[in-house]
């Protein structure tokens, strides 16, 4: 185990576990990398996207967890001049500008971050359908833990109905190059929600929540497995867990 490194993902060893029974479905390699610095995960995604474009590897579902980091999409600059990077630093939060859609978000411990490297040409050439599919994946996974996730019109992401109105439990931000996706989603499992204060420049966003805040005691691995199952179902893929050695990237 653990012998397959990202430098040789084209190799053909049998997968240790499959989350979707269908034999005919195309394969998605699930790589749960655990805690990875944001910049490293970003570089890894780029590398995998290039390989995916060349057809060298099947679709990938990277699962990571980041140390506290605030990231800003291409369209977020306006609002976030307030989030002075040096201030975040003082609070122990890294800051990265990045190339995904959406504006500013927070990643941190207790959050499952999923980065599907997914070739839409082999599914649907439809970026909105893809985003809805990611939402559906998270909604289905939450359902396994008795949490009713839903959508809010005009506000991409997955929401739950809290007493004080809708609260966001998962954020989505995607980048696409030649129909190959990168970036993805962040689901709050037991994230310290206080961190989100730093990305709310004027208290002008809706509240965030987590599975923990909603009373769930689900463990990270259980949620990852549920997400993998749901991803396979929604995108009609066979999701197989892969070991990934990080030495190269």
């Amino acid at each position: 185990m653990g012998s397959r490194s990202i430098s040789d993902p084209e190799g053909a060893s049998p997968a240790p576990g499959a989350f979707c029974a269908s034999q005919s479905a195309a394969r998605v390699e699930l790589r749960d990398l655990g805690r990875v610095p944001y910049a490293e995960a970003f570089a890894m995604q780029r590398e995998l996207v290039e390989r995916r474009k060349r057809g060298g590897i099947p679709d990938q579902l990277l699962i990571v967890e980041h140390l506290p980091v605030v990231t800003m999409g291409r369209n977020g600059h306006d609002a976030n001049l307030l989030a002075a990077p040096e201030l975040l630093e003082r609070a122990g939060i890294a800051f990265h500008r990045t190339d995904r859609g959406g504006d500013v978000t927070f990643h941190g411990p207790g959050q499952i971050v999923g980065y599907p490297i997914f070739d839409l040409r082999e599914w649907k050439r439809d970026v909105v359908a893809y985003v809805r599919g990611i939402e559906e994946t998270i909604i289905q996974a939450l359902g396994e833990f008795g949490i009713e996730g839903g959508r809010e019109p005009g506000a991409t992401g997955v929401w739950v109905q809290a007493p004080a109105g809708p609260a966001k439990i998962a954020a989505i931000g995607i980048h696409i190059s030649r129909w190959v996706t990168s970036h993805g989603f962040a689901l709050n499992v037991d994230t310290d929600l206080d961190y989100f204060r730093y990305i709310v420049p004027c208290g002008l966003t809706k509240p965030v929540t987590s599975m923990r805040a909603l009373g769930s005691r689900a463990r990270r691995e259980e949620v990852v497995a549920a997400l993998a199952r749901a991803f396979g179902k929604v995108f009609q893929r066979e999701v197989q867990a892969e070991e990934l050695v990080m030495e190269k990237l």
Partner: protein, 465 residues
């Protein structure tokens, strides 16, 4: 010249926002090299160049939202001849935002067919190149096939350039078969499809872009100018579409969220500010000299509000589900108007500051809010807010609660007016204080007791500055 168009990124997508050009005009770009980025929903997509060449023109600027297939830029391939466009560039260009998405772009075929009877007049049609500005291969082809005098077509594209849409509108307006030698349009009685068509010609299928012209008309039409579809080339547009800034979107979200969350009720009390006004008048000049900033009414109101918040801590609370969260600290948000938005920086532990300290905080926070230099923790953690709409001349208003707080105090303008004091008419400085409170938590009586406390502190001001 190759048109670069807004690509179709999915079935339900009719438009996209161009977020970034990855090349500058005049820069060389290779085929398939990322040329620009678009944003739809939460997805940013890099769009590769359809061809190799020089980016000669940017039609759609960063931040603009345009319809699928609208021309966003042009790439010159260096050769003057219209080279066969690569697949992506062959998509019909220039659908305006209001037009239906890609499938609606009328194919060339029906138009060409309708125009065939006019072919003999071809000799009188001038070369398309005489028209102003470079033309896309598609427009050239359409003009050639339809014998259209391009000098008579008004261009609505960038720099007055003629687009496919203009050609279609022109053909529809003039009658598809009207070549260079068109009869005076005003005189044409029309019955059925464009009257100038020879009888044997099949009526041209109406391109969707000009669908506002009814296909069957029994009465003579008014002059052509009058029956042109509303968004005709050259006419000033009746609408302007501009995307909201991120801040505006967040304000919009927050306002609606607040209205949906809280049961807003506003109570208004009239306050005699004479005592405070006199104190302020006496101290203003010295204040400016000593501290470098003026003295307004606002710090007095903040000070009075902190006293009332101490007395009625529930106004300094927030709601979490079915719990009431009482805050130990009194952190007062002060609404600051920005050019295109507003922000509510927070004076922490406002009750521990005197008038000088409060005024200093207000001046400092407002200045840094306007220069966008607030720090994140200066705009969070507020437990109560004050908005000073009086500075814009309003006498009273009904502010929206800044969630998750439960109340906000609005301060109207302070004006001198005649009031009855001890059965005599006196001139007093007065203002209205409007408290909007969340009736889920605060009942009317309490809201009024709180406001009365603020009023009482202000009317009986006893503190030194």
């Amino acid at each position: 010249m190759i048109d670069v168009v807004m690509p179709q990124m999915g079935e339900s997508i009719v438009e996209g926002t161009l977020t970034k050009w990855l090349k500058k005009p005049g820069e060389r770009v290779e085929r398939d090299e990322p040329l620009f980025e678009i944003s739809t929903d939460k997805v940013d997509t890099e769009i590769p160049s359809p061809t190799s060449g020089t980016l000669s023109e940017i039609v759609v600027q960063e931040g603009q939202t345009v319809a699928i297939n609208a021309v966003v830029g042009r790439i010159s391939d260096g050769s003057a001849a219209a080279a066969p466009a690569p697949a992506q560039a062959a998509v019909p260009p220039a659908a305006p935002v209001a037009a239906p998405p890609a499938p609606a772009a009328a194919p060339d075929a029906p138009v060409a067919q309708a125009a065939q009877p006019a072919a003999p007049a071809a000799a009188s049609a001038p070369a398309p190149e005489e028209a102003a500005g470079p033309l896309s291969p598609l427009v050239r082809k359409m003009a050639r096939e339809n014998n259209i005098d391009l000098s008579k077509v008004r261009g609505t594209g960038a720099g007055g350039r003629i687009t496919k849409h203009d050609l279609e509108a022109h053909m529809a307006g003039a009658g598809a078969a009207a070549p260079a030698a068109a009869p005076t349009p005003a005189a044409i009685p029309v019955s059925g499809a464009p009257a100038s068509l020879p009888p044997q010609a099949p009526p041209p299928p109406q391109p969707q872009a000009v669908a506002t012209i009814p296909p069957q008309v029994e009465v003579p039409l008014p002059p052509r100018e009058a029956r042109e579809p509303a968004p005709m080339p050259g006419a000033a547009p009746a609408l302007r579409v501009e995307p909201m800034s991120i801040m505006r979107q967040k304000i919009a979200e927050h306002m609606v969220f607040s209205k949906r969350t809280s049961a807003h009720v506003t109570t208004v009390h009239k306050v005699d500010m004479t005592k405070v006004a006199r104190l302020r008048d006496r101290a203003k000049a010295a204040f400016q000299a000593q501290y470098g900033f003026g003295l307004t009414f606002l710090p007095f109101v903040v000070r009075a509000a902190t006293a009332a918040l101490r007395q009625y801590p529930i106004v300094n609370a927030s709601i979490d589900g079915t719990n009431i969260i009482y805050h130990r600290d009194i952190n007062i948000g002060i609404a600051v108007a920005l050019d295109n938005g507003l922000i509510v920086p927070v004076i922490r532990n406002a009750d521990e500051k005197n008038i000088v300290g409060l005024q200093r905080s207000i001046v400092d926070l407002a200045a840094r809010a306007r220069s966008r230099q607030l720090k994140p923790d200066e705009v969070t953690g507020g437990t109560f807010s004050i908005t000073n709409f009086g500075s814009f001349g309003s006498i009273f208003a009904t502010p929206v609660i800044n969630q998750p707080q439960v109340a906000i105090l609005g301060v109207g303008s302070v004006t001198k007016e005649p009031v009855v004091v001890d059965d005599a008419i006196a001139i007093r400085s007065t203002c209205y204080l409007a408290l909007t409170f969340d009736h889920r938590l605060i009942d009317g009586a309490l809201g009024d007791q709180f406001t009365a406390k603020v009023k009482s502190v202000l009317e009986n001001w006893s503190e030194e500055l």
